[in-house]
């Protein structure tokens, strides 16, 4: 057995394990801190509080709605970016990334200036009697705005990995572009799409800044879990931690379910 090769690998392995474990600890410790502070019995007791149930339900409903909306509206854009070259494409890509770097509260102000009743597009809506701010719809829009880029970028990467040879083959077999998309591209890029959808949904679930700015904070209508946590944080730390743990548990279960679906999906034949 040659001596030096395993030794070099050994150092690298040790480094990888140590660095990996340290980073994992960094990520897990804060959550562990939240978890061990509240006894499980108290968590269950809190789940009986209608205000918390209300916030939790609103969070789950709005984040799922925004994830679905982003998925449906974002896929065409992602497909276009992956498959076509056109002037100004770079600019478009940067524009799509911008909501990710914008501080969420600033995003909220931007949404008000665009879709508020005195806003650029909101004025027209207000003229026909629709006002968006302070509604549950505003919560969904805020989540879509901040979470949308995650889906677009992830789906685009997935589409780009599809070998054009398959599309050419499909075309040779007289498959329409739509048929080819649904029967070839979509199944082949499914892992990226599901991963992107999970990221989008997770980001939407945790959304805070844009929501409180654009949709306000009203229990039952716009107060999602992150807003409820924030409000509780201002008067009752333990309540805030309990709420956070509930949010963590729900997110963990849903993300785990998505990951498992990803692994066990049937192979594309």
């Amino acid at each position: 057995m040659p001596n030096r090769v395993p030794r070099r690998v050994g150092v690298a392995t040790v480094f990888a394990v140590v660095a990996g474990a340290a980073f994992l600890g960094f990520l897990v410790l804060p959550m562990l801190g939240l978890l061990i502070r509240i006894p499980p019995g108290e968590l269950l007791a809190r789940l009986k509080n209608p205000l918390i149930v209300q916030a939790l339900r609103l969070s789950v409903v709005t984040s799922l709605a925004s994830a679905v909306a982003v998925f449906v509206l974002g896929l065409p854009l992602a497909y276009l970016l992956a498959m076509r070259a056109f002037p100004g494409k770079r600019l478009l890509e940067v524009l799509i990334d911008l909501p990710m770097v914008l501080p969420p509260t600033v995003a909220g102000v931007g949404l008000l200036l665009a879709f508020g009743r005195a806003g650029l597009a909101g004025r027209a809506a207000a003229a026909v009697g629709i006002t968006i701010p302070f509604t549950t719809l505003a919560v969904v829009l805020a989540q879509m705005f901040v979470a949308g880029p995650f889906l677009i970028n992830s789906a685009r990467a997935g589409f780009e990995e599809v070998d054009p040879a398959y599309l050419r083959a499909a075309a040779t077999l007289r498959a329409s572009p739509g048929y080819a998309f649904f029967r070839v591209v979509l199944p082949m890029s499914l892992p990226s799409l599901i991963g992107g959808a999970a990221m989008t949904w997770a980001r939407a679930l945790g959304e805070f800044g844009a929501t409180i700015t654009f949709a306000g904070n009203l229990p039952g209508r716009t107060q999602t879990m992150p807003l409820a946590v924030y409000e509780a944080l201002q008067s009752d730390l333990d309540a805030a931690i309990a709420l956070s743990v509930i949010l963590l548990v729900v997110s963990f279960s849903l993300l785990l379910a998505l990951r498992s679906a990803r692994i066990t999906r049937p192979r594309v034949g």
Binding site: V17, G25, R117, T131, F134, T213, G216, L218, P219, L237
Partner: protein
Amino acid sequence: MNGSSGRLVVGLAVILAVAWGPSPAASVRAAPASSITVFAAASLTEAFTVLGKVFEERVPLRVAFNFAGSQQLALQIEQGAQVDVFASADQRWMKYLQQRGLTLGTPREFARNRLVIIIPRSNPGKITQLQDLARPGLKFVIEADAVPAGRYIREALAKLSRAPGYGPDFAQRVLKNVVSEEDNVKAVVAKVQLGEADAGAVYRTDVTQAVADKIASIDIPDPYNVIASYPIAIVKGGNTGGVQFAAMILSRLGQQVLWGYNFLPAVQR
């Protein structure tokens, strides 16, 4: 013990070293004592910013401010924020810290404030008097219950319900129009300033010159208004610079600046 659990031990040791190694508190204290930190209620933003500059001209110390809702500041101090001076918008959160032994000496009232109703200059809700706030469909923005101003407006509305000409269900009808419960007064100003809310409840001092061209105010008559009492105290562990700062706030000069920003004089005890 096999190899992988050995690596696990190494990993855990690293995590522990990262987590508990260098004390973060120690590094904060290592900072030069050439500055003081003042936590002040959001409604004090303008007046204290000016007073901070005055202080820096007279004393060779820099002043760092943290302006937020009093409830948030109190909790940050409770959680170990290194602060020299705390200026609260109500007695409640000062008492909260006092009871936990986190203040030095007796807090002193340095200013008082009163609530007003603000409306956008464009007056989309067509509000000309307090009674209009109960009109169904109006968008009224207040502060959450934990925020001092949020408690005061609820008290004031309850008082108005007992006043002639408002009706016993006045408070209830107005609270039904609440579309958002913000976490500080400045967020309420922002929503009214943008014209998204028809009305908001803030302190008289929040109608600053910077926003006076965008918002108008309606007074709440004294018998029904709630007069907010602002106490100031040195925080446990604070340095002598904090004492100097508090003394300046309570001095004639400090008081005059505060009056200039529409605060009411403190009742000297």
